[in-house]
């Protein structure tokens, strides 16, 4: 086993050009990511601090930063959470259907369709949200108001259907393709050995999914969800188009016309007209979104890592 020995002192170990080039390439790619990330963070911080410290009179909203950004944070989190609640189970279900239930031909064409959906630009989803979904949701919202109105979520219903719930549904549809595509690929990677182990114990197909596929795919599902969540948190155009214009209010009512707004939509709507410290305030709200995204990703990674030794990677 000479290959494991440390090279003798004074003699350089052989370094092949291919290894050197590859290691250089991957190192610089990794460094580049960090540099870009740091650049964005520094820009947001430097430009954002004047916005955070600005006096209420100096900005358009006429409020100090915290009361200004809090409704936007609330709206962003609500919209993203509802979108995830809708989209994650559907994505897993569809992916499992494609990978393990559907006949091969049907599964392949379905998978292809879903990949196509991922390529639809968000402005088209926005148009669909205003033009189709919102009007069609109006009777449903009225029904919710009538029958479940005692819950704080379903207060007075909007007459236009352009509500935070509609925006969340549009978001859910938007993030579905990418999550489905990733889940499908991971489900297909489940080792046949583990699937057969479950089946040989007398597992039904669903039990096989629970015993062998989901545990194996766990970290991949979390990654898929994080990608979807990133898009849901940051999505600008579709949300800005669906929601009626306004600074946004903090309300539990998901179907009212007086709806919360999101950080990204607020930046998009406000940036063109903003001047002076108002621009800094918008950038500072961007910094808040950046931090939220970072924290959520961090939390998700730590959940996955907590059971690392059971991940099947060893």
């Amino acid at each position: 086993m000479t290959s494991t020995q440390a090279p003798a002192p004074g003699r350089a170990s052989v370094r092949r050009p291919g290894d050197r080039i590859f290691s250089g390439l991957s190192l610089s790619a990794g460094v580049l990511i960090l540099v870009i990330l740091a650049g964005v963070a520094i820009f947001l911080t430097v430009q954002g601090i004047p916005g955070i410290t600005a006096h209420p009179d100096e900005v358009k909203s006429g409020k100090s930063f915290l009361p200004y950004v809090w409704p936007l944070v609330y709206g962003t989190l609500i919209a993203a959470t509802i979108a995830m609640v809708i989209a994650v189970p559907v994505a897993i279900g569809v992916a499992l259907f494609i990978s393990h239930y559907a006949p091969r031909k049907l599964g392949q064409s379905l998978g292809y369709l879903i990949d196509l959906l991922a390529a639809v630009p968000s402005v088209v989803y926005g148009l669909w949200g205003i033009g189709f979904l919102a009007p069609h949701m109006v009777p449903f919202y009225a029904w919710l108001d009538e029958h479940l109105g005692f819950l704080p979520f379903f207060g007075p219903a909007s007459a236009t259907g352009r509500t935070i719930l509609t925006a969340s549904i549009v978001l859910a549809v938007m993030i579905l393709p990418i999550m489905t595509a990733i889940c499908r690929e991971i489900f297909l990677q489940t080792p046949r050995l583990h699937e057969e182990a479950a089946l040989a114990l007398g597992a039904t197909r669903w039990e096989m999914a629970r015993l062998a596929i989901f545990p194996y795919a766990r970290s991949g599902i979390v990654s898929a969800a994080m990608l979807g969540l990133g898009r849901a948190l940051g999505e600008t155009l579709a949300v800005a188009m669906v929601l009626s214009v306004g600074v946004g209010t903090v309300t539990a009512n998901l179907i009212g016309s007086d709806n919360p707004s999101t950080i990204a939509a607020n930046i998009a709507l406000g940036f063109a007209e903003a001047t002076g410290k108002s621009v800094n305030a918008l950038i500072a709200s961007g910094l808040v979104l950046f931090v939220i995204t970072f924290l959520v990703n961090f939390a998700a990674r730590s959940i996955v890592d907590r059971r690392k030794e059971f991940s099947g990677a060893n």
Binding site: H194, E196, A197, A198, A200, L201, G202, T204
Partner: protein
């Protein structure tokens, strides 16, 4: 508990391809039967048809009869899921569920039967199964550790413990030692000897010494050429097959002249 198997005129197809042709063999309860033969002769396929695991592959089907204590395995009222709960299987490569602890691996089959168990009852099953599989002493201190952290031979015994924890009637083993070192192999072979008193065991092996050491009966499979179906050439008492085979092909294979 252990049941006999009676196979008559069994043909196994993958789509239109006839993989195994016309197998008729009785397998006695509480005995060890070894299937030997060159690669691709259909012995694994035949083994998997005994608990309907071959149906996992699309287009797989059989013609003929497999009777388990007189009950038709392919009868219209037989659900493959129930068949597999009754007939356990151990695979060529150890396949404990990597995301489960040793403890949960042993109980995986029990949980499928969705019986609510008391903790003490579950503990008993885990200990009994692991003892039967000869693994208890090695893992009793670390039942909550992942099963994938064990050595290959230990993992395979964990899989045996998992298979026998549901008290199946029959245990099928598809080359259970081919991925193991000689010492682990001999541990598993001893285990097969002990398990024989409770279970009907069918084992596929490429190792002729192993067949001679562990089995009561031996069946030799062969195929006449690539693309031709595998056939059962002969079967009988292991001593007889090894000392005095009737078919020249069996003799040639056993003496290592081909395969």
């Amino acid at each position: 508990m252990a049941k006999s198997i009676d196979v008559s005129d069994l043909n196994i197809f993958y789509g239109d391809f006839l993989a195994v042709e016309d197998v008729t063999i009785p397998i006695a309860a509480k005995s060890v039967t070894a299937f030997i033969g060159p690669s691709g002769c259909g012995k694994s396929t035949f083994l998997r048809s005994l608990n309907r695991m071959h149906e996992v592959i699309r287009g797989a089907r059989v013609e003929g009869k497999v009777l388990i204590d007189g009950q038709d395995l392919y009868g219209a009222d037989m659900d493959p899921v129930n068949v597999r709960r009754m007939i356990g299987m151990v695979f060529q490569r150890p396949n404990p569920f990597p995301t489960m602890s040793i403890y949960d691996n042993v109980l995986a089959g029990q949980k499928l039967n969705s019986k609510r168990m008391k903790k003490t009852e579950a503990d008993d099953i885990v200990e009994r199964s692991l003892r039967s599989a000869g693994l208890w002493a090695e893992v009793k201190e670390r039942l909550d550790r992942p099963g994938s952290g064990l050595s290959g031979g230990q993992q395979q015994r964990l899989c045996i413990a998992r298979a026998i924890s549901v008290e199946p009637e029959i245990l099928l083993m598809d080359e259970p030692c081919s991925a193991l070192d000689p010492i682990s192999t001999s541990v598993i072979e001893d285990l097969i000897h002990e398990l024989k008193s409770q279970y009907t065991i069918v084992i596929v092996t490429h190792n002729m010494q192993q067949a001679a050491r562990v089995s009561d009966e031996t069946a030799f499979f062969n195929l006449s050429g690539v693309g031709k179906p595998g056939r059962l050439i002969e079967h009988g008492r292991t001593e007889a097959i090894f000392s005095n085979p009737t078919d020249p092909a069996t003799e040639a294979y056993i003496q290592g002249r081909f395969g």
